[in-house]
């Protein structure tokens, strides 16, 4: 089975305090720690597990700049067979629809039986996978938390719905699935693994390679765009306990006891 996994390099929110820049137009990027978008990493692991069972190859693709190559190498160190960087100034500022259109053009240059992406990325939009499927006219399932290869024509997948329940579907190939975290246990990637793929060539594709008219993508073509960032102000905000640790602990025990927190 030929599997494509769409991945993205994102600021790691578990490692960073995301700071607004002074003009409010973006975030401070100087000290950010970046990593692979977590659900994408689960998607790559899932793809590797499928090909280890039924054969085939895994390709990872990302749209971005030079710096984004590092996540492709990381996923290749996990075992992905090919990495492709789609990169050009013309793609900068693309909205979700344009990103899906770029990926569609890439998919049509090859043949994939299965396309996986993470359920959502740093912007929380959860849009590109479903859009790509609709553009390709492939069936789609979101929030997938298990995949079983039924036969060469279809998969049995489960979707995460409310309350920890699962919805089981049969889906025809080729299809697009958005992968939820927790579907598997992604393998560890050490420095040694990354060094081993350090010199593997990663092709860079631009609009001409993909037969994309640059005017149809990028910032100019975007129908949806961010105006600014700001610090959210919902809720009244917590009373922050400050001072000496001992005093904080004492005060907290009093508060919790008063609210019925000691059974």
């Amino acid at each position: 089975m030929e599997i494509l996994v769409c991945v993205k390099r994102v600021p790691d929110t578990s490692e960073n305090e995301i700071q607004l820049n002074s003009s409010g137009t973006g975030i401070e990027t100087d000290d950010l720690v970046y990593s692979i978008n977590e659900p994408d990493n689960y998607a790559v692991e899932e793809a590797l597990q499928i090909v280890s069972k039924v054969g085939g190859k895994v390709t990872v693709v990302t749209i971005g700049g030079e710096d984004d190559e590092e996540v492709l190498r990381r996923e290749m160190a996990m075992g992905a067979h090919h990495g492709v960087l789609i990169s050009d100034q013309a793609f900068s500022g693309s909205d979700g629809r344009s990103l899906a259109a770029i990926l569609k053009a890439f998919v049509q240059k090859a043949h994939y039986d299965l396309i996986l992406c993470g359920v959502q990325a740093d912007d929380g939009a959860a849009q590109v996978g479903g859009m790509l499927a609709a553009m390709l006219d492939y069936p789609f399932a979101s929030l997938v938390n298990s995949i079983e290869v039924a036969d060469v024509e279809k998969l049995k997948v489960s979707r995460e719905i409310e309350g920890g329940n699962k919805e089981i579907h049969e889906i025809d190939l080729p299809c697009v699935l958005s992968i939820q975290t927790g579907i598997n246990e992604p393998r560890y990637v050490g420095m040694r693994g990354i060094r081993q793929v350090a010199s593997v060539p990663i092709p860079t594709l631009g609009p001409a390679d993909l037969d994309i008219d640059p005017r149809t993508v990028g910032k100019g073509a975007a129908k949806v765009g961010r105006v600014d960032y700001f610090i959210p102000a919902f809720g009244k905000g917590a009373e922050m306990l400050q001072g000496k640790r001992e005093d904080i602990v004492d005060r907290l025990v009093e508060l919790v006891a008063a609210k019925g927190g000691l059974n």
Partner: protein, 333 residues
């Protein structure tokens, strides 16, 4: 002005709570006109759900088809593409169904797509300005979208407060004949219900809940010791279950359990909305997190910026001390 529609989910003849929230969101786009509710389904359940909305919506479109008895997003999409007039704005809840349906629907209706909207600033010409959150709720952003060819917008559950408005006497219009035949390449088979765990966190009055900040499985014991001292149970957020450090039955959130404790200690939990949506009944929330910008501090009653691996053992010791003191005092009297 575009026509605004809301997609209303329903189960066993009862319309989802999101019906009123979506109506409130629609009013923020255009306060002058009542939105139209669309329901898809089959049989008496669908009729009952449509009728139940007649006090809330002036117009309700019913789309009945046997193949829509279970809401398979692929089939619902085909039905909506057939009935929605060109240029429509459709509001859908940002939940597991909305995630499944909406991005693809926006492509098939050639309209713009904005997801997980938490507020709507308004419409100027064809430019709609909305508020979203990024980076797990650490930052908000204004997003502008061009709705000249319509829009599909998913609305965060709980973000829009239902409005008090004079009851209407809505009319149900049957649009079933417009959809033609539907066929799916994704076929719904069954729903598997979550297994019950060893502890039912939904029944606990006090919860010590741990998130990614617990760092490794071995550290869950630190939270358990605190819970034991308090007479509480340990629950957790999604990353802890993803890492297989705790079972799914302990997860609080939309994809886990809904809990209703009196006191909730959020330890090393950032406060993603999917997690917060699982906490009901307005408990006293204590947030302990080393990131002062963690969104959990906006919803907590009391916050402490600290590393939980250091703080929780200190808290445990203090509670043990206080309780031992109380016991001694009680014996003495």
């Amino acid at each position: 002005m575009p026509r605004i529609f809301t997609y209303i989910a329903h189960k066993a003849g009862v319309a989802d709570d999101s019906a009123a929230e979506l109506a409130a969101a629609a009013q923020k786009i255009d306060a002058t006109e009542s939105p139209i509710a669309i329901l898809t389904g089959w049989g008496s359940d669908l009729d009952a759900a449509c009728n139940s909305l007649r006090a809330l919506y002036a117009e309700i479109w019913k789309v009945a088809n046997e193949s829509l008895a279970y809401p398979n997003a692929e089939l619902v999409r085909q039905a909506l593409v057939a009935v929605l007039p060109p240029g429509s704005v459709l509001l859908v809840p940002h939940d597991h169904f909305g995630l499944d349906l909406s991005p693809g629907l926006s492509i098939k209706t050639n309209s713009c797509f904005v997801s997980d909207v938490v507020d709507i600033e308004g419409l100027q010409g064809t430019a709609l300005k909305v508020v979203r959150q990024e980076f797990g709720g650490q930052l908000s952003t204004h997003v502008r979208c061009d709705i000249s060819s319509g829009a599909v917008i998913t609305i965060r559950p709980g973000a829009f407060k239902p409005q008090e408005s004079a009851p209407v006497v809505g009319r149900v219009a049957d649009k079933s004949s417009e959809i033609g035949s539907l066929s799916a390449r994704r076929r719904y088979l069954e729903t598997v219900v979550a297994e019950a765990g060893d502890v039912d966190i939904a029944k606990q009055t006090v919860l010590v809940s741990v998130g990614r900040g617990i760092q490794e499985q071995g550290n869950v014991a630190i939270a358990q010791e605190l819970a034991d001292a308090m007479g509480a149970a340990v629950s957790c957020s999604r990353p802890v279950v993803d890492a297989k450090w705790m079972p799914k039955s302990r997860q609080v959130g939309t994809s886990g359990k809904t809990v209703k404790p009196k006191v909730y200690l959020a330890c090393g939990i950032s406060g993603a909305f999917q997690h917060l949506a699982g906490i009901k009944g307005n408990p006293f929330i204590v947030a302990i997190n080393k990131n002062p910008k963690a969104p959990i501090f906006q919803v907590a009653d009391v916050g402490i910026v600290a590393d939980i691996l250091e703080f929780l053992p200190e808290l445990t010791n203090k509670i043990r001390e206080v309780r031992a003191g109380k016991t001694t005092a009680a014996h003495a009297s």
